[in-house]
C-alpha cells in the first residue's frame, strides 16, 4: 500500500484527542464499561466525538477542528460536563492521568473490534499493557514537506511537552520514581521512537514503501512515533503527552504547541538536522524521569540547561505569536504549572495526605469531572 497523498489543511488548526480512564465507583479500579458509556453518549450534543480504545476500560474523545484557546477550552469543558453526567448515570467515574496507579494489566479486556483484535494478536501482552492514557494533539499543515520540516524542528521541544503533561508516577501500586512512566509502555513497542530524518514527502514515501515491502508495517497507524504525520487529516500529531488531570491544561498544552509551531514556521530560528537526534533520547529520558526538574542539552549549542528554564525562555520567544493566536491565557496556564508543578507532582502530594491509593484515584477523578 503506497503512502497516501498529504491532504492540504489550514495551517495551525488544532485537534485534541484525550484517552480517559473509566473507574469503578466502589474501589476506583479500572472497569470495562466503555460500551455502557458509549451507549449513553450516542446522542450527545456538540461537534466532538467519542470512541472506544484498545481496552474496554479506556475511552477516547476527539475535539472538532479548533483555532484558538478559548473555543477549544470551552468545547473540552462542554464535553467534560456531558461525559461526567453520563458516567454518573451508569455509576462510573472518569479520570485523566497517564496510568492507573494500581490496575493490573492482565485483568484488562480487549475491546471487540477488528483492529484491536489484530493488535492484541500481534503484540500479545503488550497490547494489554498499553492500558495507558495519553493526549494527542494534531496541528494542521499545508503540505507534506512542511509537515516533515515541522516534525523534525519540534523534536527539540518534545521534552517540554513530556514534562508539562506528565501525570503517571504510579504503576501497579508503586511509585516508579518517574514523572511519566506511561512512556515506558509506549517505548516497548517495536515501531516507537522517532521518524526517520527525511524532509520531503516524496522521500518519506520511499521510506514508507520500503517498510511496507518488508511487511513490517501496513499503514501509518502502525508507527508509534512521538510525532507522527497524519496524511489523511493533513496534520502532524504530537503523541508524547500524558492525559492531564484537567481539561483546561489539555487545552493549554495544545495552544502552547500551536504558538510554538507558528514561531518555528515564521521565524525559522534553526534548520533541523539529523544530528539533533543525538541528544534526543537523553533529553526525553530526563523529562520522563525528572519532569520539570530535568535537564536538557540543546542540540545546536550543546549547552545543558534546566528544562524549566528552557520552557521559560521558549515562552518568552513565542509570546508575540501566542498573542496573535489569542493564546496568551494558555501560556499563562503553562507558566503557572512551572511553579505549581505538573500533575505527577500533584498526585504525589495527594498521596502524602491520603495514604490509600483508591483515595488518590478518587481525588484525581474528582479533579477531572464536574
Amino acid at each position: 500500500m503506497a503512502l497516501e497523498t498529504f491532504t492540504a489543511s489550514q495551517p495551525l488548526t488544532l485537534g485534541v484527542e484525550l484517552e480517559l480512564q473509566l473507574l469503578d465507583t466502589h474501589d476506583f479500579d479500572l472497569t470495562p464499561r466503555a460500551e455502557d458509556l458509549l451507549r449513553e453518549l450516542t446522542n450527545h450534543s456538540g461537534e466532538w466525538d467519542v470512541k472506544p480504545e484498545i481496552t474496554r476500560s479506556m475511552i477516547e474523545i476527539g475535539t472538532s477542528i479548533q483555532r484558538a484557546f478559548t473555543p477549544l477550552r470551552d468545547e473540552l469543558r462542554d464535553l467534560r460536563s456531558q461525559m461526567s453526567r453520563a458516567a454518573r448515570k451508569v455509576n462510573i467515574a472518569i479520570s485523566g492521568g497517564g496510568t492507573h496507579p494500581y490496575q493490573h494489566w492482565s485483568e484488562q479486556r480487549i475491546f471487540p473490534t477488528e483492529r484491536f483484535r489484530y493488535i492484541s494478536e500481534l503484540y500479545g501482552y503488550l497490547a494489554k499493557q498499553f492500558t495507558v492514557f495519553g493526549q494527542h494533539v494534531h496541528v494542521g499543515v499545508p503540505n507534506g514537506d512542511e509537515a516533515l520540516w515541522l516534525l523534525h524542528a519540534l523534536s527539540r521541544y518534545v521534552p517540554h511537552f513530556i514534562a508539562l503533561a506528565a501525570s503517571s508516577p504510579y504503576v501497579q501500586g508503586v511509585d516508579t520514581g518517574f514523572h511519566s512512566a506511561r512512556l515506558n509502555s509506549v517505548f516497548a513497542f517495536p515501531l516507537s521512537g522517532r521518524a526517520p530524518f527525511v524532509l520531503t514527502w516524496e522521500g518519506f514515501g520511499q521510506f514508507f514503501d520500503k517498510m511496507t515491502s518488508t511487511g513490517v508495517v501496513q499503514s501509518m497507524k502502525d508507527f508509534y512515533w512521538d510525532i507522527r504525520p497524519k496524511p489523511e487529516y493533513g496534520t502532524i500529531e504530537l503523541r508524547v503527552c500524558d492525559t492531564p488531570l484537567q481539561v483546561d491544561k489539555a487545552a493549554a498544552l495544545a495552544c502552547y504547541l500551536q504558538s510554538l509551531c507558528r514561531y518555528l514556521r515564521e521565524e525559522r530560528p534553526f534548520e533541523p538536522a539529523e544530528d539533533d537526534y543525538l541528544v534526543y533520547t537523553f533529553n526525553r529520558f530526563q523529562a520522563c524521569r525528572f519532569g520539570l526538574d530535568g535537564e536538557i542539552v540543546d542540540p545546536k549549542s550543546k549547552q545543558r540547561s534546566k528544562l524549566r528554564d528552557d520552557i521559560i525562555r521558549t515562552l518568552a520567544r513565542i509570546e508575540p505569536h501566542a498573542l496573535d493566536l489569542q493564546g496568551l491565557d494558555a501560556c499563562n496556564l503553562i507558566r503557572e504549572s512551572l511553579t505549581d508543578g505538573n500533575d505527577a507532582t500533584w498526585l504525589r502530594r495527594q498521596r502524602r495526605e491520603h495514604p490509600p491509593m483508591a483515595a488518590l484515584v478518587e481525588a484525581a477523578a474528582a479533579r477531572w469531572m464536574t
Binding site: H26, E35, E40, V90, N91, H354
Partner: protein, 432 residues
C-alpha cells in the same frame, strides 16, 4: 413453623424402595446422634455440604452455594427427612448473624447517590417491586386465592433474596452494571417488601379499619423504618469512630462483626427491622469511612463459615407439602414474578442506560426469592408472626415457590452474569 397447614396424613414418598432402605439406615445413627447432641446432626450435614459443594464445583462448574442448598434440601423433611426443622433452632442466632453480615456488606457496596444521578434507575427499582407484587396478586386472585392472603404473598414475592444475591456476588466477583444494579435493586425491593408486609392489614383490608386504626398502623410502620434508619446510622458512625481509634487491619473485621451483632440484636429487641438497620449501617460506614473501610468477604472467615450454615439451613427449610394441590398457585407466583419484574426492567431499560441484553440478564438475576416469608412464619429475625388471618394454603404455596426459587437461586443469578453479559468469569480450574 413453616407449613403450619401440615397435611393430616403424610405424603406418599417420592422415591423408590431402595432409597427408603438407605434412609432408614442413616436415620438410626442420626437419631442416636441427635439424642446425644442435637447440634451434631446439623454439623454433620454442614460437613457433607462442603464436600458435595466442592465436588459439584469442580466437576460440573456449579456454584458452591448450590451444593450447600442441595444438601440442606436433601436432608430436609421434604426429601430424606434426615433432620427436622426444629434441629436448626439452636443455630438460629448464628444464622441470623450470617444474614446480618451479608446485609451489612451489601450496604457497604451501595452508592445511594446513584439513584439521584439516574432517576430512571430509581424509578425502575420501585417499579419492578411493585409490578412483581401486583402481578403475583392478580395471578393468585385469578386462580381463586382470597384477596387478603394473596396480598401477603404478593408483598413477600416482590423481594429478591439479598442473601443469595450477595453470597453469589462474593463467590463470582462480577464487575459491571448488571451486577451493581442487582445489588441496588435487591436492597430496595426488600425494603419495599418489608414496608408492604408491615402495612399489610391496611393493604389487605382484612377487616374494616377505622381511620385511627389505619393511622396507627401507618405511624407504626413509619416508626419502625425511621427507628431502623437511626439505629443503622448510629452503628455506622460508631464503626467510623472506633475504626479511627483502632487503626489496624487485623482488628477491623472483628470490629465489624461485633457491630453487626449489636445492630442485629438491638433491632430485634426494639422491634425494628434488622434488614434496614444493617443496610443503613453499611451505607453509613462506607460514606463516612470511604477508603479506610476495608470489608473482607463475609467479614472474614468466621462469616464465611456462618454463610455455609446459613445456606444449608435455607435448604433445610425447604418444603413441598401439598404441592399436588397447590402447584397452580406456585406456578402463578413464579411466573407472575418473572413477568412483572421483566416488564418493569425492560420498560425502563433504555432510559436508564441498559442494553436489552443487560435488561434480560438483570431480570433473570432478580428471580431468587427471599426467605422473608419463611422468616415471618418461622418466627426468627424478630418479626413476630405478622399474618393472622392469612390463608395457610396461600402461605404454603408461597413457601413452596420460595423453596424452588431459593434452591435454584444461585443459578438464576450466576448464569446471566457469566453467559449473557460476561460480567463474571469462570474460575480457573484448580490443579491438584
Amino acid at each position: 413453623m413453616p407449613g403450619a397447614s401440615a397435611a393430616a396424613h403424610p405424603e406418599p414418598p417420592l422415591y423408590p424402595q431402595i432409597v427408603d432402605w438407605f434412609v432408614t439406615l442413616l436415620r438410626a445413627p442420626l437419631a442416636g446422634l441427635r439424642g446425644a447432641d442435637p447440634v451434631l446432626g446439623l454439623a454433620v450435614v454442614v460437613l457433607a455440604a462442603l464436600v458435595l459443594a466442592s465436588l459439584l464445583h469442580r466437576r460440573l462448574r456449579l456454584p458452591r452455594l448450590l451444593g450447600y442448598l442441595l444438601v440442606g434440601a436433601i436432608a430436609s423433611p421434604a426429601a430424606l427427612g434426615l433432620l427436622q426443622r426444629t434441629d436448626i433452632d439452636p443455630w438460629k442466632p448464628l444464622i441470623d448473624l450470617a444474614v446480618a453480615a451479608l446485609v451489612f456488606e451489601l450496604g457497604t457496596r451501595l452508592r445511594p447517590r446513584w439513584l439521584l444521578d439516574n432517576r430512571w434507575l430509581a424509578a425502575s427499582s420501585a417499579l419492578e417491586a411493585i409490578a412483581a407484587g401486583v402481578a403475583v396478586w392478580l395471578a393468585l386472585v385469578a386462580l381463586g386465592a382470597p384477596k387478603a392472603s394473596a396480598a401477603a404473598a404478593a408483598a413477600c414475592a416482590a423481594a429478591t433474596s439479598p442473601v443469595i444475591t450477595m453470597a453469589t456476588f462474593l463467590e463470582a466477583r462480577p464487575r459491571g452494571q448488571v451486577a451493581e444494579r442487582l445489588l441496588m435493586l435487591s436492597a430496595i425491593n426488600c425494603v419495599l417488601a418489608i414496608l408492604a408486609i408491615k402495612l399489610w392489614p391496611v393493604l389487605a383490608h382484612t377487616r374494616v379499619l377505622s381511620a385511627p386504626e389505619s393511622l396507627t398502623l401507618l405511624a407504626n410502620a413509619g416508626a419502625v423504618i425511621f427507628g431502623s434508619l437511626l439505629l443503622g446510622l448510629a452503628c455506622g458512625v460508631l464503626l467510623d469512630r472506633l475504626g479511627r481509634l483502632h487503626d489496624e487491619a487485623a482488628t477491623m473485621p472483628v470490629l465489624q462483626l461485633a457491630l453487626v451483632i449489636v445492630a442485629a440484636l438491638l433491632a430485634t429487641a426494639w422491634g425494628l427491622s434488622p434488614f434496614v438497620a444493617l443496610l443503613v449501617a453499611g451505607m453509613t460506614a462506607r460514606s463516612r469511612m470511604r477508603h479506610r473501610l476495608t470489608v473482607q468477604p463475609y467479614l472474614g472467615s468466621a462469616g464465611a463459615a456462618l454463610t455455609v450454615m446459613l445456606f444449608v439451613s435455607f435448604g433445610l427449610l425447604s418444603t413441598v407439602e401439598d404441592w399436588r394441590a397447590l402447584w397452580p398457585w406456585v406456578l402463578a407466583i413464579v411466573l407472575a414474578r418473572l413477568i412483572g419484574k421483566g416488564a418493569a426492567i425492560f420498560a425502563t431499560a433504555r432510559p436508564s442506560g441498559l442494553s436489552w441484553r443487560q435488561a434480560a440478564a438483570l431480570t433473570l438475576a432478580l428471580q431468587p426469592m427471599s426467605s422473608l416469608s419463611v422468616m415471618l412464619v418461622a418466627d426468627s429475625f424478630g418479626w413476630r408472626t405478622q399474618l393472622p388471618g392469612a390463608e395457610p394454603a396461600v402461605i404454603q404455596a408461597l413457601l413452596i415457590a420460595t423453596t424452588l426459587m431459593q434452591l435454584s437461586g444461585p443459578l438464576w443469578t450466576l448464569w446471566p452474569l457469566k453467559r449473557l453479559v460476561g460480567e463474571a468469569v469462570d474460575d480457573e480450574p484448580h490443579e491438584r
